[in-house]
């Protein structure tokens, strides 16, 4: 049963329209980063409980990659922002 995700571009949309990729904290290392850093990025996954930020793709909507901040224990969604805008600001 769907819940609604507040897409910053499309408004409240059912979660079935989105594809979840994983934690935002996983940022692609610099090309010349050492092998261990790359290994961490490609293979190691944390599995945190509680409030997390994830990349969600609005696949069946605006096709934007979003950062969804939510609690993975009760699925409360706190915040949804556009990933590109967030990256440009940082």
């Amino acid at each position: 049963m769907a819940s609604l995700i507040e897409c910053p571009h499309c408004g409240a949309r059912p979660k079935e329209e989105f594809t979840v990729r994983g934690n935002v904290e996983r940022q692609r290392p610099a090309p010349d980063a050492d092998p261990d850093t790359w290994f961490d990025y490609v293979y190691l996954r944390d599995n945190p409980m509680g409030r997390i930020s994830e990349h969600w793709h609005h696949t069946a909507g605006c096709r934007r990659w979003l950062i969804v901040e939510r609690d993975n224990t009760d699925h409360t969604v706190f915040n949804v922002t556009d990933a590109m805008e967030a990256k440009s600001k940082s």
Binding site: K15, R21, R28, P29, K87
Partner: protein
């Protein structure tokens, strides 16, 4: 002595008689009846047989918690088993059948199970069927399956329609009893967007079986008036016959509306059921309370029911459950049933109160304090009870017994997201959890007993909920409310004096002694007890039994019910049909279908289609006289190799990339160099995953300085697009690049074969000679005397001189038609994906059979394609890890059987000559095979350890499934035209 219709009264329409059958017997009821009330009115108390002991059972309730009166309704494809007769609305022509009995409801052979009951108590299955294990499949399971199971599902297709719908509101109200109505009218009058749902056909809930006056009118009239006002409000949506079955993330609720389950012949233009997904800003749970049965010997005989059920059948349906009844209760509220029945002229023999301090009663019935019913009599229905009280034991001849063990607030929905209900000694009940989260329990669902208080609570909770979303509302005032003053209750979990079976879970035949046994045997934890005894695991999910079971466990374990705790509440509240959950997604609508713009063209030519993901692709084009697909495919291959063929390749993913940074971006996506690709040229490209393994392949064409057109495989069209979006938006947002999927905008046709240029010349206006359009040229051309603009790519996956031409999708079929017409004298042949597959294997081209997630470019012989000049691209960092450089890696080679008559299959493994199959002996595996009409035998592509160094070596292809060993020779993967002369012709 049995149940009957009262001379007058009830909310039924006595002027509209309805005829139906039960087990083939003609019966009659009235508009407004349920099947259960009509059967009772006709003197039919026996409605089913219990699950394990096949004991005779009648309705225990008049509502949706019913565990006993399960029947099969409807015929043929509309057969629906396990319907609760207590909620099935009667309609003319209804066909009802009892279930789970043989040969008949009255005489059921399975009843002998009762005699075996000492042997089939709790944990029976675990204890009995442990050994020998071999007997499980052949003996135990079929035996159990035949004996158990309630109704039987039909094998015929359901002829009806179902649909799904969304709804949004400010305030969702679940339940339209007094609490829900007060909440709805409060919110409705405040102008809020309201949805009120109730499982029954009309609004009112308990008001419909109440005799009290509310606001100066009888309760049912009050309910009707409020309902009328609500239905006049445009901001209020009333969903009757709608069960809110689940509370999901946020404030999302699932509900099922039974649109046409109450009619004989459903309107085919409407769904029979509708699944609602309701997004509410706030919600009020006004689901009321469910009366608990009491646990005593023989408490399951037809004629024993909750006092609420007795009262509802009498007041609402005008049905007396018996001529002489008694009440057995542990609380004061049950007395009103005795009062109402006496008022209707039913003889109430006694009120048997388990408490020493009874309530005041001014009717005729005798009130017996400190009393318990210890046993019951009657074979197929109740005929008497034994009452045990201070100083004596007495037998009463009665034909109906109302039982009341107190009330359970219906907290299910409030607990479905993990919050646990809390035990209240004061209420002798579990109350909904405090956590708010947008759903507030109100009225009886929150443990409130009095009618006036429920009305007040509903109104105030609505006001509070609306305040949260900044809507001001004034609490509704119902005026004067007649009420029962005394709601005192004292738990009585089971009657210890009983020696007969005392049922806790009626549907699964779990008795008080089963629970005791579970504790004795170490299964006293409530979750263990549930699974060990199966209490609460039937289709009613323990609505009536769970709290009694907890109370008994508490007594046996000598702890409080709070310490025992509850089991986990999960959706669905009541059973939901598969039809409603599937909605319109069945048969050809199960998933979307994608058809190429050339679909009709291929169909005209008689193509056989194959499903590839959502796509329908033409796989071959049989001609008259061809009896096997191989004949067609061989012919198509030879036609392309000797003359010219055309093939629909529109399903490839197509993405157009533009912008000043397009070249930079594409260089980061592909592992090979793309930035220096000249305008007007195409290049084969490989995309890697970040772990260095090959992700997808395709061509990239540079149409203008800052305009590229790339193709992906059909399978990864969507994936590549998402990947590009991820890369651009989250990794390189500063690149000025735009891209869009144009997969559906272009029809793309491969034209391949020695005569392809000649054929294309007949429609392309431009010069397409080898010098004008050399191998890997990509340019815009016009067709048919300037009528159309198209894109022409000189690319080939067959090894032949070949082109792909892209035409705006809607012109695809017309252009393909012209190609067929003008190519007739050249012998033009349409070919499908099978022939395409044969030719790409003959030419050693890889697909996802080889790009299987475990190969790096070097494994495919494309190691030199990878750019060593670029400082960054996706996959670069991980590509040169030690493991990917291992000389022992499997690498792409070709494979031919030594004897051309021999065969091998995809997935078969490669062994060195004389080796026996084992993991260490494994040399690799076959990735693709086909029969090559050019080579004249089966050929294959394989990934083999050190493959390219072993060309000419004889190996064995071992197929474990077929137990087949085939001698084969490793060869170059390019079987046809290895020098590429045809390609560059």
């Amino acid at each position: 002595m049995t149940s009957y219709r009262l001379k007058s009264g009830g909310l039924i329409d006595r002027d509209t008689p309805l005829h139906f059958t039960f087990d083939g017997k003609p019966m009659q009821g009235f508009q407004g009846d349920t099947v259960a009330s009509a059967l009772l009115a006709g003197g039919q108390r026996l409605m089913g047989r219990s699950f394990k002991y096949h004991r005779p059972r009648g309705p225990l309730t008049a509502g949706s918690a019913e565990p006993n009166a399960l029947i099969t309704v409807g015929q043929n494809g509309r057969t629906e088993p396990n319907c609760r007769a207590t909620v099935v609305e009667l309609y003319n022509g209804l066909v009802g059948r009892s279930q789970h009995n043989w040969p008949s409801l009255k005489f059921d052979v399975g009843e002998v199970n009762s005699l075996l009951s000492p042997f089939i108590g709790a944990g029976f299955y675990y204890k009995t069927f442990m050994w020998p294990a071999a007997l499980w499949e052949k003996l135990y399971e079929p035996l159990i399956r035949r004996a158990a199971g309630l109704g039987r599902a039909t094998f015929e297709a359901d002829p009806d329609r179902y649909e799904k719908s969304w709804a949004h509101c400010d305030l969702l109200i679940i339940g339209a009893g007094p609490t829900g109505l007060a909440a709805a009218i409060t919110a409705g009058r405040a102008g809020a967007q309201v949805i009120i749902c109730d499982e029954q056909a009309s609004l009112g809930g308990s008001l419909l079986s109440d005799t009290h006056e509310v606001g100066g009118v009888p309760a049912p009239v009050f309910a009707h008036d409020i309902a009328s006002e609500l239905s006049s409000m445009p901001n209020v949506r009333i969903l009757t016959r709608t069960t809110v079955f689940g509370w999901y993330d946020d404030r999302m609720f699932g509900a099922v509306e039974r649109v046409q389950k109450h009619v004989q012949e459903p309107d085919p233009n409407k769904p029979v059921e509708r699944l609602w997904r309701i997004a509410a800003k706030e919600a009020i749970l006004a689901s009321g309370a469910e009366e608990r049965p009491l646990v005593f010997g023989g408490n399951d005989r037809p004629g024993v029911m909750t006092t609420d059920a007795l009262r509802t059948y009498a007041n609402r349906y005008g049905v007396a459950a018996g001529k002489r009844v008694a009440i057995f209760a542990n609380n004061s509220a049950a007395y009103r049933t005795a009062h109402d029945l006496e008022k209707l002229g039913v003889d109430v023999a006694a009120i048997i109160d388990s408490r020493s301090e009874t309530a005041s009663y001014n009717g005729k019935a005798r009130v017996i304090p400190n009393a318990r019913v210890t046993s019951t009599k009657g074979r197929l229905g109740l005929s008497g009870i034994t009452v045990n009280y201070d100083g004596g034991e007495e037998h009463l001849s009665i034909d109906a017994l109302g039982v009341s063990g107190g009330w359970n607030p219906v907290v299910n929905l409030a607990c479905q997201r993990g919050a646990k209900p809390t035990w209240s000694d004061e209420h002798a009940a579990f109350l909904p959890p405090n956590a708010h989260n947008g759903l507030s329990a109100a009225g009886a669902a929150a443990g409130i007993a009095s009618l006036a208080a429920c009305l007040r609570d509903g109104a105030h909770q609505a006001t509070d909920a609306l305040k949260n979303i900044n809507i001001n509302a004034k609490p509704f005032d119902a005026g004067a409310v007649e009420d029962d003053p005394d709601h005192a209750t004292k738990p009585l979990w089971y009657v210890r004096e009983s020696t007969e079976k005392s049922f806790v879970d009626f549907q699964n035949d779990v008795t008080a002694s089963d629970l005791g046994l579970a504790v004795t045997e170490g299964y006293g934890n409530v979750e263990h007890t549930k699974r060990y005894t199966t209490t609460g695991m039937a289709t009613d999910q323990g609505k009536l039994s769970n709290v009694n079971a907890i109370g008994i466990l508490a007594e046996v374990r000598n702890v409080t019910p709070a310490e025992v705790g509850t089991t986990t509440y999960r959706p669905f509240y009541t059973p939901v049909s598969f039809g409603a959950l599937a909605g319109a997604h069945k048969s050809e609508h199960f998933q979307p279908v994608r058809r190429s713009p050339l679909h009709e063209w291929a169909k005209k030519l008689g193509a056989e289609f194959v499903e590839v993901g959502h796509w329908y692709r033409s796989s071959w084009f049989p001609k008259k006289g061809e009896t096997t697909w191989r004949q067609s495919v061989d012919r198509e291959v030879l036609a392309v190799r000797n003359n010219v063929g055309v093939c629909d390749v529109s399903t490839l993913g197509k993405i157009e990339v533009t912008g000043p940074d397009a070249a930079t971006f594409l260089d980061l996506l592909y592992c090979n160099g793309m930035a220096k690709l000249p305008v007007g040229k195409a290049r084969y490209g490989l995309m890697l995953r970040e772990d260095g393994f090959v992700y997808d392949d395709g061509t990239l064409s540079r149409l203008e300085e800052n305009r590229y057109f790339l193709t992906t495989t059909t399978a990864h069209a969507a994936g590549v697009m998402s990947h590009m979006e991820f890369c651009h938006q989250t990794i390189w947002p500063n690149l000025d690049v735009r891209f869009a999927s144009v997969s559906d905008q272009w029809a793309q046709i491969a034209v391949a074969g020695p005569k392809s240029r000649e054929l294309l010349s007949s429609i392309v206006d431009d010069d397409i000679s080898d010098s004008a359009v050399p191998f890997l040229a990509a340019r815009t051309v016009t067709l048919l005397g300037g009528q159309l603009s198209a894109r022409l790519f000189r690319i080939s996956f067959s090894g032949e001189l070949a082109y792909e031409i892209a035409i705006p999708a809607s012109y695809g079929e017309a252009v393909a038609d012209v190609l067929m017409e003008r190519g007739e004298k050249l012998g033009v042949t349409p070919y499908g994906t099978e022939a395409m597959g044969v030719m790409r294997i003959e030419k050693g081209h890889v697909t996802h059979a080889e790009i299987n997630g475990t190969v790096v470019p070097a494994d495919l012989g494309m190691g030199r394609m990878v750019s060593n000049k670029k400082t960054d691209f996706i996959g670069r960092a991980m590509l040169n890890r030690e493991g990917t450089q291992d000389p022992d890696r499997v690498k792409l080679v070709g494979l031919k059987p030594v004897d051309p008559a021999d065969d091998f299959s995809v997935g078969a493994h490669i062994l060195n000559k004389n080796d026996t199959p084992s993991t260490p002996a494994d040399q690799g595996y076959v990735t693709s095979t086909c029969f090559s009409p050019i080579i004249g035998s089966r050929i294959g592509l394989a990934l083999i350890k050190k493959g390219p160094e072993r060309i000419g070596e004889q190996i064995v292809v071992w197929d474990a499934l077929k137990e087949q060993y085939t001698k084969a020779v490793i060869c170059d993967p390019v079987f046809v035209d290895p020098e590429g002369e045809k390609l560059h012709a």
